[in-house]
Each structure stands twice: as C-alpha cells, then as structure tokens.
C-alpha cells in the first residue's frame, strides 16, 4: 500500500459496558476507495462514524486507541473536532438535505467557514454540483427547495454539499441503499470519479457493489476486523475462513 491516509491503531469502542469494536488496526490508503463490508451489526458503520468522530454525539460511547489522519491522532485532547469534520466529510444512508433551497444547502458549509461573498459562493455551488454530477439537472432551479428532489437527486445533492467544504476524505455510509438501481449506478460512477481527488471509505452491505467500486475491502465481523486487502484478493482468494463464508453467502 503506497500512501496511507489513515492509520488506525487498536481502536476499541464501548457503548457503556458493551464492547462494539475490538482493537481495530488497519491502514486506509489515500486516493483509493476502501469498502467496509460485513453482516448487520458487525460494527462497520460504527467504525466509519469513528473516523469523523460522529460517535462523540452519543453520550454512553467511550473510545480507546488511536486514529491517525496524516499523522495526527484525531482523538487527541487538543484536536478541535469541528476542524476534523471539515476535512472528513460524511454522506449518510438516508439523504438529509436541509429544508432550504438547493443553493443554500450547498452554500451551508462555505457560509459556516465564513465565506460571504456572493460570487465566491456561486462559484463553489457550481463547482460542487458539477463534481456531484448534478449541475445540469439543477442549474436552473437553484432556488427551489431541496426537499422537492427525488431520492437519488437528494443524495447527490448531499454529496455535493459535502464536497463544498473541500474535504480530503469522504465517508459514505451505505449511500445508495435507499435508492433505485439507476440512481445507485450513478452514485457508484460518482465514487469512481471522486477518488482521484479524495480518499473514500464506503460502508456497504451489498457485496457486488463493494466488488465493483472499491480498490480495497475490509471485512468486519462481530466488532472485529477479520481481514483487509485489495478487493480483488478478498473476493477471489480470501485468507480467513470467515471472510470466505461471508463472501460465498454462507451467512450474513
């Protein structure tokens, strides 16, 4: 693995007394798509949310271990979590646009960062929507409410919204699971285009999707990282038996 963007060392997560992640250690490569797969409840989404510290929002959660992004442990006391989230963006399973106009949704992030100049914001909105492959569809209705868009469009809008703050890393938590096949393939295409500029980590319960879109795959089971490697290898010659069982559909 050449460039490593995120180094995870013995990361464990507890909901109160209950352990949900068990000493996860892995390296996540830069400018590649890494897929996290595993059966329901295996901890892949929980792990994903550790990367941008969204689990901080749950009061009973405690985390041990280190998560180094470009050498900096994001769980260090001195680190400002708000800055982390500007560098590590997240797209959620169910699209969650703000009840505002399409323009305002995209401009939300930049505005928070202090950008007020209209020309600048206009530019950012256009760039972000272009990158999310949805500019042509929406350019004539930027002032319409985002809630009027279809599910697939809303999700691409949310991706655009995340891109507008220029993150390095984009986390995607089953971004297409609520969408129809055509919207799903649009999102997958988008992921492929985006990886040149961004590091993408995507949780999916759809193994075919993982095989199609990712360069590396990590298999989680019951809070443990069982195996991680190049997607090709994982799916053709997995090392661990559990991995093989999952991939061949024996459980999950």
């Amino acid at each position: 693995m050449k460039d490593i963007k995120i180094k995870v060392n013995d990361l464990s997560l507890y909901y109160g007394e209950k352990q949900a992640l068990n000493e996860i250690t892995m390296d996540i490569p830069a400018n590649k798509v890494t897929a996290l797969i595993g059966p329901s409840g295996c901890g892949k989404s929980t792990f994903l949310r550790c990367i941008n510290r969204m689990n901080d929002l749950i009061p009973s959660v405690s985390i041990t271990g280190k998560m180094l992004v470009e050498g900096v442990d994001i769980y260090d006391k001195n680190v400002d979590v708000v800055n982390i989230r500007k560098k590590i963006g997240m797209v959620f399973q169910k699209s969650n646009p703000f009840p505002k106009s399409i323009y305002e949704n995209i401009a939300y992030g930049p505005r928070i960062n202090g950008i007020k100049d209209k020309t600048q914001l206009d530019e950012i909105v256009e760039t972000s929507l272009r990158k999310a492959a949805i500019w042509d569809e929406l350019k004539d209705r930027l002032d319409d409410s985002a809630l009027g868009l279809s599910g697939g469009q809303q999700q691409r809008l949310c991706i655009g919204r995340t891109l507008a703050v220029s993150p390095d890393i984009i986390l995607m938590d089953e971004p297409a699971s609520a969408l129809d096949p055509i919207s799903t393939s649009k999102i997958e295409e988008l992921v492929h285009e985006l990886k040149e500029q961004y590091t993408i980590i995507i949780v999916t319960h759809n193994m075919q999707q993982a095989a199609r879109t990712s360069d590396y795959t990590a298999f989680f089971y019951m809070g443990n990282l069982i195996e991680m490697g190049k997607t090709n290898s994982i799916f053709t010659k997995p090392v661990q038996k559990q991995t093989e069982d999952y991939i061949t559909g024996r459980f999950g």
Partner: protein
C-alpha cells in the same frame, strides 16, 4: 363432533348479546352524554354572553373611554392596557423561555441534575395558583426590586416601588413561561436528528447548528407558544391585582412606571364594586364578549399553527 359440542352447550356463533357487550354500549352512551353536556354548557354560557352583550358591543364601545363613573362609555383604555401588558410580557418571557427550552433540548446531558431541577421547576411553575404570582410580584418586584431601585437611583423618592405596568407584565411573564417553554421544546423535538447530524458533519459547531438549522425550523413552535402565552396573559387577573392594574385611569399609560387598565380586571371590578351593578350589566357582558373573542381567536390561531407543526413532523 356435533354431539360433543351439543352436550357442552357451546355454540359457534352466539345469538344472545353478551353482558360485556351491553356494558360497552352503556359506557359509550355515558361518555357521549358527558360530551354533549359539556358542549351544551359551553354554548349556553357563550349564548348568554353574546345575547346580553350584543347591545353594547360596537366599534364605539371598543374605541371610547368609560364615562359617567364607569356606568357608560367604552373600554378603550382597558383594551390598550391589556395589549401593552401582553406585549411587554412577551418581550420578557419569549426570549427567556426559548433559551430555557434550547438548553433543555440541546445542551443538557441526560443525567444532568441541573437540567432535572429546571424541568421540575417548570412543571411546578405551571401549576402554581395565579394569585401566588401576584403576591410574588408584589413582594419581589415591587417591594424589593422597585423599592431598592428607588433608594439606589431616585434618592428614596417613590417611583418604581409601586404597582405599575412593568411589574405587572413581569409577573405575568412568570406565569406564562411554562407555556412557552413547553411549546418551544415540542417544536425543537420535531427537528429530526439527521438534520443536526448533517450540519455537524459539515464542520458546524453546535451553536451554528442551532442558529442555522434548529431555530429556523422551530419558529412556528415559538409562535405557538407566544400566542398561547398571550392568550393566557390577556385573561388572567390575579397576577395583576396588586401589581399594576387600576380601576380607572383618565389617560393611557405613558411609561412603564404607570399603572394601566385591563379587560379582565375591569370585568371583576364592575361586577363587584361599581356604583350601579345593575346598570352596568350590559357593559360587563360586552367586555366579557370582547375578552372572549380575543382569547378564543388567539387560541384557534395557536392550535392551527401547532397542528401544522405536528403534520410536518410525521
């Protein structure tokens, strides 16, 4: 098979009505009767008020001052006094109540003892009899704060240490605070967690999220709470009995240190202490009608807004 069933006397479909069936029907009948009774009483009261008051109820009534020792004329100063009261009350109660609701919903942690104490206080405040607020207003606002201010800033001269519209409004705002807090809390809770998460995931601070996503979404809840508070404040009399309401003032209040007239108080005084209670009957009824229309329409507006909020939350 048939023989067995016949012997035990079990029938597949019983044609007799069972006892619990009848009990059920009686229960429904009794509740229906109760509802009809309540609605009937309500309509009778409303009917009497409208009937007795319609003679005096006119534009002139609303816009002119009382004359001839309060036995003739209109209720204009009482109407204005009530308006000023609820406006000042809202200015005090709405921001305070909104901030409290924000704290309870957004900032307080699950096991915070302080938050539990706040919640308990709000609930208790909601059931305190309104006369107690009046006594508190007299003791704290007038005799302590007001008199203290006079000694400190006025050289002992009496200006703030007596009943006036400021103290009455503040007293009333304490009474209506729970209403506002509950309405705003309800509105805040309808904002889905996903929207807050979306904002935080973009690198917004908690306060930015509240300012840009949560508060704009709860404006209707704040409005509902305010309207309900205003409706309550317009009708309550006990809190202003000794904190600022006056029976008769020749002029409208010019500053916060003036006393004021008030619709509810007006009705109370006229029905118990006027020089000629019989003669002023129509005025009393008409004043009651005005007050009822005011509070009823405010409540209806609040209910409409609130049901829109609830529909949006589904």
């Amino acid at each position: 098979m048939d023989k067995v069933l016949k012997n035990t006397g079990v029938h597949f479909f019983s044609s007799k009505k069972s006892a619990s069936d009848i009990k059920g029907k009686i229960f429904v009948g009794v509740t229906q009767l109760a509802v009809i009774l309540i609605i009937a009483i309500l309509f009778i009261i409303l009917g009497i008020i409208v009937y007795e008051g319609r003679a005096k109820f006119s534009w002139e009534f609303i816009s002119s001052f009382p004359t001839n020792g309060m036995t003739e004329g209109g209720i204009f100063p009482a109407l204005i006094g009530t308006f000023i009261l609820v406006i000042v009350m809202s200015i005090a109660a709405v921001p305070f109540g909104t901030i409290t609701a924000l704290y309870l919903t957004e900032y307080a942690s699950e096991n915070s003892k302080f938050a539990a104490a706040v919640r308990f206080s709000v609930r208790t405040l909601a059931v305190v009899p309104s006369i107690i607020f009046g006594l508190f207003g007299l003791g704290f606002f007038i005799q302590f704060l007001g008199a203290g201010a006079d000694t400190a800033f006025n050289g002992g001269q009496l200006r703030w240490g007596q009943p006036n519209i400021l103290w009455a409004s503040l007293t009333m705002s304490l009474l209506t605070l729970p209403v506002i807090i509950v309405s705003v809390e309800e509105a805040l809770k309808t904002i889905p967690r996903e929207l807050r998460e979306a904002s935080l995931a973009l690198g917004a601070t908690k306060w930015q999220t509240i300012k840009k996503v949560v508060l704009p979404g709860s404006v209707s809840g704040i409005m509902t709470g305010t309207i309900l508070a205003v409706s309550r404040g317009a009708g309550e009399v006990a809190p202003i009995l000794f904190t600022g309401a006056a029976y008769y003032l020749a002029t409208l209040p010019g500053s916060l240190s003036d006393q004021f007239m008030n619709l509810g108080y007006h009705i109370y005084i006229m029905s118990t202490q006027s020089s000629d209670v019989e003669k002023t009957m129509p005025i009393q009824f008409a004043t009651t009608l005005v007050l009822l229309i005011l509070t009823l329409s405010l409540n209806i507006v609040a209910v409409i807004i609130r049901s829109r909020i609830r529909r949006k939350a589904k």
